[in-house]
Point group: C2
């Protein structure tokens, strides 16, 4: 019957497509609203607004879920079956129908009430986490993580056909990827990086004492603004704010907002800003024709993180980049950097050293932080690890993987925001992103042979254009796997990333490269 | 039947009340969302976000209107008829039902599509206005005002039983007030203030040249922050931002946001901040138990403006206030104010002088700006004034009422944001607020006999408490008329306000007070 209607003529079908598109547009407006309420809560809202904001977010989530899962959307999708078959699968229309169908079928499995409860628990959990972290008091955080975990178990029960319950959670962040695939990548990283970190630890260490500053914040802000301007930050479409947790947000392709934080004793804000710029640029360079559709965002968190890591590490920790930018920085902070030469600075910002905090970790040890979180959240989900034992389990693995002692929970299990808002299954995407960033970089180096010279000259136009044309513009038109295939010509593969880290270790530490 | 259900027992009725309250809570969450999207658009959003924001606002308006006007709300209100009769009319429950019924009946008259069109036109109009004002080009603004006017005419057609079409527009801002009542107040002001302004113009003028500064912006921000802190601004519940148009926003009683602007050649930001503080304080001191209900906001714009004007003028331009604050200001700007004594400063900030811009106008001539806008928007609505003739009509009245020549439309018809977003019927409430502020002040002086001393000492606790107890806490529980009656013991009356202005004219200009 549905197909009959579709075959009845273009007129009918186009009306159904237009109606679907209009409904999806409304749902997208509501989703942008949720994200804006969250941005506002973290960046702008006075603390007193928290209780009402939690209710408000729950209401918007409920309305969004109701509209996204309306019977009428299913009816329109049925009606469009035949139309879809006639379309080029790579067209906007076919992609929109395909993605809308997948989203609808997934969302229909989750009751509106559960969706609203998860939203409310996320907001409450964030507030609890802030207090718990500030006081290094895990017991204040425990009710939040317990509640979120309970809700995620109910969420998993809404689905079937998975190999592992964790598949369901991972799918929210890396659609289509199975736990087993992610695990294979992560175990390969663990296997290779624990010995690499040990080899580096045995090598002579570069001096990085000057990286503790002091770097007056006003100077950091000036340097950061200039650096972002060179990369492509334009005030008509971007904004930068200061909060405790760096992040990137998009409210359409021409409203991109990134956040960072400043500390006198570190230049981390520069790397964090390049990281968030990478996230923002992905959203900014999506084809504007996809705006107000569910195609108008990055296709997965792994792909997203590949973009932030590309700008933070492959651009932002490279020698060509600092050849271009270091004079500005040395001028800005003459007291600290006046006597430090370019090579010494480059060595220092690439120093490998096991540490307590994930977001401050170097490229080599970072992934061990991720492996730890991945293993712990899987154990929490399947019940083999109790919440009472979580902090100790954290500390044991930190010792085992990184050889560091956790002095208190603020520097341990309380350091990340993710679990406070129920984002289990999120962490692996950080390492997937690291891996993918180097696969993409390999392609880029071939496509733009003088890339290093361009980076040194502060010319990022070709780099941005390549990323736009081979990755960003597609948004969610294709699956993450298909999107990756388009960008790098194959599936995820940790070896180029490991090769890149080993080459850097050889270059900066004299650690012998392996075959 | 509905009453039968109500009489059937408390259980049934309470369920209906709870359900009504839950639905109203959702609608209120959505309204707060619209206001937050608007705040964000004006304060934070990169310009590139405008097109999507317009769609997003239209979607939220549509969803809100659908939910606010749902049949189910009407059914619940019917069901609660009997319950309402049994309640104390001054109780929370009775007030909520009464106000919800009035809101529902009013909203049901306006089709969802029209509501959405008005929202979209408001956003588009704001963008056009900004461009038009920046280029002083009325022709760019004309399509926006034309569109808004057409939509407002269609809006008026949704109602009946009014004496004047303008009643319908005025009712959105000053519920229950008729055009004839507002007109009587405004004509009385026009009649009394044109001659008073003339008398003052003939008197010796105080020196106010030093008020053009320069006042370095950093110093203004410091002074303003301290001043607001003394009045009662606390960062846990308030924030202050800088934009082109000063305003106050509330997202719940503990999330109050005010905006201001800075100019080196003026101290207007201090008065504008006190003005917006007054608006914010009204919302902040509403009984928190009213949060997430339609009772949780100021009852009318006239009452609201009475609060902003009270802080801006009756506190903020008074001699006792500056006795307490002037030393701080003189210290902050020694180059300009070092040689200016308190009395000279007080005279200067109360200088009466006809000028082009409403928001910069003194207390006497301000109301003549309002009379002009009231007359013009009534004439636009009833078609006796064409949009082609609007700028000239503006300029003619400026000459007639204020004796000033308008050099260009940026300093004339393009100066205010209101018409760009379709807010016809809004302007009179500014003068109603001026009038009411002095009625309230009279009561306050009786209730707090040493008010002047407290103000001089920077003690505003009793002032805030009186306003909370006699006005703010009620929110929308009663009608504006009833609320005014509670606060001042009678209806609106321009004579105390005129008496106040004449007394000030006598004091500062030696203009003889009238009988």
């Amino acid at each position: 019957m549905a197909r009959g209607a579709a075959r009845a003529g273009g007129q009918v079908v186009n009306r159904a497509f237009d109606e679907l598109r209009s409904r999806l547009g409304e749902v997208w407006d509501l989703r942008l609203t949720t994200w804006l309420l969250e941005w506002d809560q973290e960046v702008m809202m006075p603390r007193g607004g928290a209780a009402i904001r939690a209710e408000q977010l729950a209401t918007i989530e409920r309305v969004t879920h109701e509209r996204a899962t309306a019977d009428e959307v299913g009816r329109l999708l049925d009606e469009l079956d035949g139309y879809e078959d006639e379309l080029d699968p790579e067209s906007f229309e076919a992609s929109l129908i395909r993605v809308a169908r997948r989203d609808w079928e997934k969302a229909r499995r989750v009751p509106t009430d559960l969706q609203a409860e998860m939203a409310r628990a996320a907001v409450d959990g964030f507030e609890l986490w802030m207090t718990a972290r500030d006081t290094s008091d895990y017991t204040r955080f425990r009710p939040a993580i317990e509640r979120n975990l309970e809700l995620r178990r109910r969420y998993v029960e809404c689905f079937d056909g998975f190999d592992d319950p964790y598949d369901v959670l991972l799918d929210d962040f890396e659609p289509g990827m199975k736990t087993a695939e992610a695990e294979a990548v992560l175990l390969r990283l663990r296997e290779a990086l624990i010995p690499l970190a040990a080899e580096i630890a045995d090598a002579p260490q570069p001096d990085s004492a000057f990286l503790t500053g002091p770097f007056p914040v006003a100077g950091q802000k000036r340097a950061e603004t200039e650096l972002l301007r060179r990369l492509g930050f334009e005030p008509t479409a971007w904004r930068l704010d200061e909060i405790v947790h760096p992040a990137a947000y998009s409210f359409g392709t021409a409203d991109i907002r990134i956040t960072t934080r400043y500390s006198e004793d570190s230049l981390e804000t520069l790397f964090s800003a390049m990281h968030e710029f990478g996230h923002g640029l992905y959203e900014h360079q999506i084809d504007p024709a996809l705006n107000r559709t569910p195609l108008a965002t990055g296709v997965s968190l792994g792909l997203h993180e590949s973009q932030s890591r590309l700008w933070e590490n492959l651009v932002g920790r490279s020698l060509p980049f600092w050849r271009g930018v270091y004079p500005l920085l040395a001028e800005t902070f003459p007291d600290v950097l006046g006597a430090v030469d370019l090579e010494a600075f480059h060595q220092a910002v690439n120093k490998v050293e096991p540490s307590l905090i994930r977001v401050d970790a170097d490229e080599v040890t970072y992934n061990l932080h991720i492996v730890l979180r991945f293993e712990l959240e899987r154990a929490l989900l399947d019940g083999t690890l109790s919440l009472d034992d979580l902090p100790e389990a954290w500390n044991v693995r930190m010792r085992e993987y990184l050889g560091v002692e956790v002095p208190d929970d603020a520097h341990g299990v309380l350091q990340d925001v993710h679990w406070s808002s129920g984002a289990f299954g999120y962490f692996p995407t950080y390492s997937l992103g690291n891996v993918i960033s180097v696969q993409i970089w390999g392609r880029l180096k071939t496509a733009v042979p003088d890339l290093d010279d361009q980076i040194e000259a502060g010319e990022f136009g070709n780099l941005r254009a390549w990323l736009r044309d081979h990755l960003h513009r597609f948004g969610r038109m294709f699956t993450p796997r298909e999107t990756l295939e388009r960008a790098v010509g194959g599936p995820i593969d940790p070896e180029p990333y490991l090769g890149y880290l080993r080459a850097k270790a050889a270059d900066l530490y004299g650690v012998a490269p392996r075959a």
